[in-house]
Point group: C2
Chain length 277, copies 2
């Protein structure tokens, strides 16, 4: 089964909510947890518990584990294993990107079966060109995994790169187009590709040369909901014809509810999404 097929089934079954696992220092303190590897482990396992059965996808933010070196990665490995055992799809939010054998090594770390850091999909950065991601996409495909390539990010400084143009097309638009050819064979009509893009929910698509139509059929990981300003109830208006394959990613707005409140906060976010129909 391809990642696109698994993601489609998960979205149909549980809806578009993606819960971030972002144990930054402030949240660890709010949760009464130590700011160390044991703290991020405990935080991650509790979020997995709260998310299991409630949502399709969780998205651990790798930086908050990397912060504590090898001990932090050991904690991340436990959290990833727990999430996959609980039937959650896991997107590793690592934004890796390199060329040649180095890119292959990142792909092997995150996207090969049996690797200690195995996830279902990985966020990757295209500064070195989407063309440099070919080997990564090939390894992903061979293992039934997917990629989310940064296209238009939710921060204001992103336009410096993402809105720049070449041959009359913005960088973000070129990336969206090139990402389509990373999925081979191309998915059947109406089916979801296995490689998608990251597009912030709060951004003005036109300002980076994107249209909602250009995103149709691609998995779209959309940060920017909740704490960053976009409302979950507006998902369909924001993404229009592409909204059926958007993953609405929330982190601080549910995690801020604390260890006792996070499950209820997730249910509330789901209700907000459910009410839009």
């Amino acid at each position: 089964m391809t990642f696109g097929e698994r993601l489609r089934a998960a979205l149909d079954d549980r809806g578009p909510l993606c819960v971030g696992i972002d144990p930054h220092t402030g949240l660890l303190r709010n949760w009464g947890l130590p700011t160390d590897a044991a703290g991020v482990r405990e935080f991650g396992l509790r979020v997995v518990e709260a998310a299991a059965g409630r949502v399709a996808v969780v998205k651990p933010q790798v930086a908050f584990f990397e912060r504590y070196g090898s001990a932090g990665f050991a904690a991340l490995e436990e959290v990833l294993a727990a999430a996959r055992a609980a039937g959650l799809l896991v997107i590793g939010d690592a934004k890796r990107g390199d060329i040649g054998s180095t890119a292959d090594a990142y792909a092997a770390a995150w996207l090969s079966a049996g690797s200690p850091l195995e996830v279902d999909a990985l966020t990757v950065s295209p500064y070195l060109g989407v063309g440099a991601l070919g080997g990564t996409a090939e390894l992903a495909r061979a293992n039934g995994k997917g990629l989310f390539v940064l296209a238009a990010t939710s921060n204001p400084e992103g336009v410096d790169v993402q809105a720049a143009e070449r041959s009359g097309r913005s960088v973000a638009a070129a990336i969206v187009e090139q990402v389509r050819s990373l999925t081979e064979p191309a998915p059947a009509a109406g089916a979801l590709a296995s490689n998608g893009v990251v597009v912030g929910a709060t951004i003005d698509l036109a300002a980076v040369g994107l249209t909602r139509e250009s995103l149709v059929g691609l998995p779209v990981l959309a940060p920017g909901f909740g704490h960053q300003g976009a409302s979950l109830g507006d998902l369909d208006q924001l993404f229009g014809p592409a909204s059926a394959s958007v993953l609405a990613s929330v982190s601080r707005s549910v995690l801020g509810a604390g260890p006792q409140g996070v499950a209820a906060a997730i249910d509330e976010a789901r209700a907000e999404l459910g009410a839009r129909a």
Copy 2:
């Protein structure tokens, strides 16, 4: 002491060679080492031994350690500690890049004093805008560390993003200009900044809208020597007025000499660089 000052002193003392620590699968096999965390540890420690006293800088490629998860990071921690204990400056080649508290977590992981992954400088990716790197640069400065921001990479697919233009300036050129303002206070005339750029030695600078003059006074990490095609003897011609602050990075061409030959291969590369005067 700032990173720029430390780098200047090291370059003056030992010359511009930077030795990569790239334990990819093929090299591990050539070296007779296992393709696991113990193998990358042994490989890294032996390269550090060979580089110590011979060169100014080593550059571990993080992907090849990450490949083995937390065990690989534990190996990397030992290699980093050994390199710094041997008086080498260490550039963590991780190409990290994110926004807000996530970017801060990457900065804390690599650039804060006492962190298990502490290095002297980190390679970072600017797809989210150089503006998003402000917090990272601030933490680097507070700890006497530096950044190398990807500008123009040595792979052919990089131009898709790096040669795109905005307000009449290429993405690569804008990045080089913006990186200058990351170093605060600005270095004295003739002194080296603490934040520099990555510019491949094999690329046509004009094709990405760059000039050699625009790089003067910035540390320039230049991959592409040796295996990838540029000759060390041509460093001055390639970088002209900027060549005094270029780090010529070699990996496969010296590492391919094997555990018994790597020290001699490093000496040979140094001789090639020395002969250019």
